[in-house]
């Protein structure tokens, strides 16, 4: 009995040590990023491993300099608007398409759904040229609508929501039908509220992908007035190519919105990963 308890305690201690080491490894890049932002450029490029902390004072002014030179308020605004509209559009279109594919019977359903699946199998970069030409044709270059455009519909979301709808019992829909609901009402009042967890997962994934999306904002938004954080940071890499504290300062400011969103929606993030089986 005593032996089993000791073994249990030892295995738990080893597990905690391993987890602490893993957590530390995960946190090192973030710590390095913040510490570099607070150093002088000379300290930042020093190869000495003992230059972990700034030696010549903590340069908090880096953040205000980067904030001013990059108009971070504008970058935050553009990024959050893009994320908001992409999440709303993706959830709206995916839930409708998911319901149609998951619950309705209509001619050509399997063919249409296979088109959705094919879209998931093809690298997204292939769609960039036609999408760019469409956005350009619609006069949406350098606009929020142009940024949102590729996220209006989502093959992954349609698949996720279809699976969600298929998992719901048929009895619910049949009972609603007996009560006089038509298809629209069954969808809106009965089925859609039950797929909330799938929609939350989709919203989280969409928000993350939109936040990380670099190429599309870079292509459609050449103006500083409409660009996003990721594209703005890429520009910082060019402009401050040799000024690491400025680059890291910009990077720290850029991750703040995602950290705030993560802290607020931590539970949903974890549930989202569990529901969809995806990775972030």
């Amino acid at each position: 009995m005593e032996n089993a308890r000791t073994r249990d305690r030892v295995s738990k201690t080893i597990m905690y040590i391993v987890l602490i080491i893993m957590a530390f490894i995960m946190l090192v890049p973030f710590a390095w990023m913040i510490l570099t932002a607070l150093k002088t450029n000379q300290e930042a490029i020093s190869v000495s491993p003992f230059y972990i902390f700034p030696h010549n004072g903590w340069h908090w002014e880096t953040f205000s300099e980067v904030w001013k030179s990059y108009n971070f308020f504008l970058l935050y605004k553009n990024t959050l608007l893009m994320i908001f509209f992409r999440v709303v559009c993706a959830c709206l279109t995916a839930t409708m398409a998911g319901y149609a594919f998951g619950r309705l019977k209509f001619p050509g359903k399997n063919f249409l759904f296979s088109l959705v699946l094919i879209q998931m199998m093809i690298p997204s970069t292939i769609f960039i040229i036609p999408q760019y030409l469409m956005v350009s044709g619609l006069g949406w270059l350098n606009t929020c609508a142009g940024l949102v455009f590729p996220g209006i519909v989502t093959a992954f979301g349609t698949y996720l929501l279809k699976t969600g709808y298929q998992g719901l019992p048929k009895d619910l829909e049949e009972a609603a039908g007996i009560d006089g609901c038509n298809i629209g009402q069954k969808f809106l009042r009965i089925m859609m509220p039950l797929t909330r967890s799938s929609m939350v997962s989709l919203g989280i994934f969409t928000a993350l992908f939109a936040f990380k999306d670099l190429m599309w904002p870079m292509i459609v938004c050449t103006s500083v007035q409409t660009t996003t954080l990721a594209a703005g940071l890429a520009k910082a890499q060019g402009q401050y190519g040799s000024n690491y504290p400025q680059m890291m300062g910009a990077a720290v400011l850029a991750v703040i919105p995602m950290i705030v969103i993560y802290v607020i929606f931590q539970k949903q993030f974890v549930e989202g990963i569990a529901t969809s089986g995806g990775k972030l």
């Binding site: 019977k105 209509f106 001619p107 970069t125 960039i128 040229i129 760019y132 030409l133 350009s136 044709g137 619609l138 006069g139 038509n182 629209g184 009402q185 969808f187 809106l188 670099l214 190429m215 870079m218 292509i219 050449t222 103006s223 594209a231 890429a234 520009k235 890499q237 060019g238 402009q239 190519g241």
Partner: protein, 233 residues
């Protein structure tokens, strides 16, 4: 469900609904019934009709193409749109600076010689080049020479470049495209502009640089004007 079955079902549904609506007294009550039962359909149809109309109108009236789109690759200098270089060129070419169709893109960083896999800037370049947006591309001479192999830069021996060839033929840099048609044959893919205003006056580059023209460019005259401007012809 077969299309025939669907048609029958829709017919039956329309018959039942017509009967139901006819049985409701008062226009307001009828409208309320329709709204209550079919609001999703109504909203979706209105949205799609609006969007289709908007898209057709935009495609018909919106000018899609840039008059001149030049990418300045691997420079940290401020030579993008609204920079001094941009204003000077627009003035020189006699374009309208308010039109917004002259674009200088200085946010591009890749070297074709060093590998470009996963480089978003290169992928943007490919989008612009393959989409027919790219007119001019300025980068290091050796990188441009390597890029010339990809076939994304115009063969300057082509007919539409006759004027450029007459003026700047002695500055051409050559490359052998991967295309089978060009096997063993070097073609001019760029113009050496290392001694141009871009280096001397605007200090955008230090190393030897060249300018290539997008293979699908339709604004070669604007690129020629740019060459005249920076080479002070």
């Amino acid at each position: 469900m077969t299309p025939k079955e669907l048609k029958e079902r829709l017919k039956e549904w329309a018959r039942v609904e017509k009967k139901k609506i006819a049985g409701i007294e008062g226009t307001r009550a009828k409208a309320e019934y329709i709204w209550e039962y079919y609001k999703i359909w109504i909203v979706c149809i209105i949205f799609f009709v609006w969007f289709a109309g908007f898209a057709i109108h935009q495609y018909a009236t919106n000018r899609m193409d840039y008059r001149c789109y030049i990418i300045f690759n691997n420079t940290n200098a401020d030579v993008g749109t609204d920079s001094e270089l941009w204003f000077d060129y627009v003035r020189y070419a006699g374009f309208d600076s308010d039109d917004g169709d002259i674009e200088f893109n200085a946010q591009s960083y890749f070297d074709y010689l060093k590998g470009v896999t996963g480089n978003s800037y290169f992928e943007s370049f490919v989008t612009y080049a393959d989409g027919g947006i790219l007119d001019g591309f300025v980068t290091g001479t050796e990188s441009l020479r390597a890029l010339g192999k990809s076939g994304r830069l115009l063969d300057l021996n082509s007919e539409e470049c006759a004027s450029i060839k007459a003026k700047y033929g002695d500055r051409f840099i050559y490359s052998e495209p991967y295309d089978e048609d060009y096997a063993g044959k070097e073609v001019p893919v760029g113009i050496d502009i290392s001694d141009s205003k871009l280096v001397k006056e605007y200090h955008a580059y230090v190393d030897p640089i060249s300018l290539g023209i997008g293979a699908k460019s339709e604004n070669i005259d604007a690129v020629e004007l740019f060459l005249d401007f920076i080479l002070e012809k």
